[in-house]
């Protein structure tokens, strides 16, 4: 494609209007053979100056429990979901645009000092969801493909990285079902070693005709597959648009957030934190729009008898996204084993809600109880100063929070009183 960009306008026009062009070689083929693509340019993001200072000013107004502090960790444009490298060298950050960022804290002062684009020779499409295996393989779930980057913590220093298909372009979902909305995928590696990927369904409430196709592909659900791309199966159905998932390190159970139906009113339906105790469970959508609130479109249909209701209901329209079980030792005992999750904030509620970090404590019976942990990103005029997306954990037990409005990653640590 580079050739076309540099070519004359008429060549481009002819190419653009003519059908049946020979496929342009993808850089992925070269990278899969450990060949160079000739790309040498990184985009670096400035970490100091007025922009960073503006974000720091916002952080002064964030309220946290006693003893906790928040600071700017990195300026990262459009920062979405994060994957902290198992060696603790670099954090990869997805976007809903066309870049993945690598964030490095070289001097270990717990503030990043280098942010640059990852694999600039590859063309990404909504690379929202990075996740790591314990042995250092980075997976990135995009709109309609999944690639694996072995030893990403090593190769990211070069513009050319090793990259291989897990799910080829066009095979994650049927291309006819591609959309932008509800296409921010997240992934995780389960205790079974399989790759779990959330697949949002594209509608507010889908038409019944879509049900068979979506259930077959796991759209509006979670799928799992072997890390070589084989053995794909649908793990969970009845999900509207999950953009947050983590495995409970104690039980191995999959927990995930879900975004609920719009246009039913300011205060219904509730948002969801869900707990999957086995494969094959149905979480109730589209019969339920969130919690046990029935959707208008399916109010006369009989829901499946075995619907699993949320482990914890959340404030309506707050948009619960990324989540992480806290495994560190830095935070006080009550937070150990709890879930930290981000609420992105409502987009069309009369008075905005969300834009905060929640903490949820897992109860004996498998449900959970949630409360706000960090808040203050909505100002007195109802304007967003930031919109949290995901939570990750550093090896020292502090947590990172990404924000795609401010274009930043924050670090929250515990100092005590």
């Amino acid at each position: 494609m580079k050739r076309l960009l540099l070519g004359t306008a008429s060549l481009l026009a002819v190419t653009a209007l003519a059908q049946a062009q020979a496929p342009v070689p993808e850089n992925l083929e070269k990278l899969s053979n450990f060949q160079t693509t000739g790309t040498s340019e990184f985009t670096f993001v400035d970490q100091t100056g007025d922009y960073a200072d503006g974000i720091k000013k916002t952080l002064e107004r964030i309220k946290l429990p006693d003893g906790f502090k928040i600071g700017l960790y990195a300026v990262v444009p459009d920062a979405r979901h994060m994957a902290v490298g198992p060696q603790g060298i670099v954090t990869f950050v997805g976007t809903r645009k066309d870049k993945v960022w690598s964030v490095t804290d070289r001097n270990k002062d717990r503030v990043a000092d280098e942010v640059k684009d990852f694999a600039p020779s590859l063309k990404f499409a909504i690379p929202n969801g990075p996740c790591f295996s314990k042995d250092g393989f980075l997976y990135i779930a995009e709109q309609n493909r999944v690639l694996v980057y072995p030893a990403a913590e090593f190769f990211y220093e070069s513009p050319d990285v090793a990259a291989f298909n897990v799910v080829k372009q066009g095979e994650l979902i049927p291309p006819t079902e591609e959309s932008y909305n509800h296409t921010a995928r997240v992934c995780d590696i389960g205790p079974d070693g399989k790759l779990y990927i959330t697949l949002g369904q594209p509608f507010n409430v889908p038409a019944p005709e879509k049900a068979d196709l979506y259930n077959k592909w796991g759209i509006g659900g979670i799928i799992r597959l072997n890390t070589d791309g084989t053995g794909r199966e649908v793990f969970a159905t009845g999900v509207r648009n999950s953009v947050g998932m983590d495995i409970d390190p104690k039980t191995g159970d999959v927990w995930f957030t879900d975004n609920q139906v719009d246009g039913m009113g300011d205060d219904i339906p509730p948002g969801e934190l869900n707990h999957a105790t086995a494969a094959g469970q149905n979480f109730g959508f589209p019969w339920y729009g969130g919690g046990n609130v029935r959707t208008n479109e399916y109010k006369n249909d009989e829901p499946p008898a075995d619907v699993v209701f949320p482990a914890a209901e959340q404030v309506a329209h707050a948009a619960d996204l990324g989540m992480k079980f806290y495994t560190g030792k830095m935070f006080p005992a009550k937070y150990q084993g709890a879930i930290f999750s981000a609420q992105h904030g409502s987009w069309n509620r009369t008075t905005p809600v969300g834009a905060r970090v929640m903490v949820s404590y897992v109860n004996e019976d498998g449900t959970a109880t949630s409360e706000p942990f960090a808040e203050g990103w909505i100002d007195e005029n109802g304007e967003y100063l930031g919109r949290p997306v995901d939570v990750a954990e550093l090896r020292d037990g502090s947590i990172l929070v990404s924000d795609d409005l401010a274009g930043a990653i924050y670090r929250i640590w515990y100092e005590g009183n």
């Binding site: 960009l5 959309s179 932008y180 719009d262 987009w347």
Partner: protein, 199 residues
């Protein structure tokens, strides 16, 4: 080829003009000051001056009021669908549409090519309506400067696949490959859009 496209465009615009006149005959006049107040529901995604806050929201500051109204009416009527906008537009009356359209139309959009790029490199398929720098040359076409790659990619694929329809765009998109779409999207996405705040 290009010539036939341009000839076809001429015919369509004549037809569009007639349609638009009848569709907008009943629209009330918009008040930008009222529109600014009512834009509370727009600004989370599109920004108060129309510089978008999320990747899938287009930059609507400086678009003609008629273009914005037409899209909102299409979302309200279901002729254009989008998971978020269909929900929003359902609750809008004609006066609100006219007001928010007037507010966003008050902003002034301009574009700057990135260093090393010249107008001659602009995709010829698009420039007749959307301009070399993504500032549209006619009312019915939106500005494309500075939209995200994913927004432009999504719209072109929607035209190609029939999820979104338009007299001209449906035909143009029908012939584009995924690679072509990405290339066109990257051209316009790489241009810096400036929106000058209305006084």
């Amino acid at each position: 080829m290009l010539r036939s496209v341009i000839l076809a465009l001429g015919g369509v615009f004549l037809a569009q003009g007639v349609l638009n006149q009848s569709a907008f005959a009943q629209m009330p006049a918009g008040d930008p000051a009222e529109g600014r107040k009512k834009a509370t529901m727009c600004r989370t995604c599109h920004g108060i001056e129309g510089l978008a806050k999320i990747p899938i929201a287009p930059n609507i500051g400086g678009e003609p009021a008629s273009y914005i109204s037409r899209q909102l009416i299409a979302f309200r009527a279901g002729a254009r669908t989008h998971e978020m906008m269909s929900v929003v537009a359902k609750s809008l009356d004609d006066q609100t549409i006219a007001d928010v359209a007037a507010w966003y139309a008050e902003q002034k959009a301009s574009a700057t090519l990135p260093a090393g790029k010249t107008d001659a490199q602009a995709p010829e398929t698009c420039v007749a309506c959307h301009g070399t720098e993504g500032i549209a040359t006619m009312e019915d076409a939106p500005n494309l400067a500075g939209e995200t790659v994913m927004y432009l990619d999504t719209q072109l694929k929607a035209f190609r696949g029939g999820k979104r329809t338009h007299e001209i765009m449906s035909d143009i998109a029908a012939d584009l490959s995924d690679e072509d779409i990405r290339e066109l999207a990257e051209w316009y996405s790489g241009i810096k859009l400036n929106i000058e705040k209305a006084k």
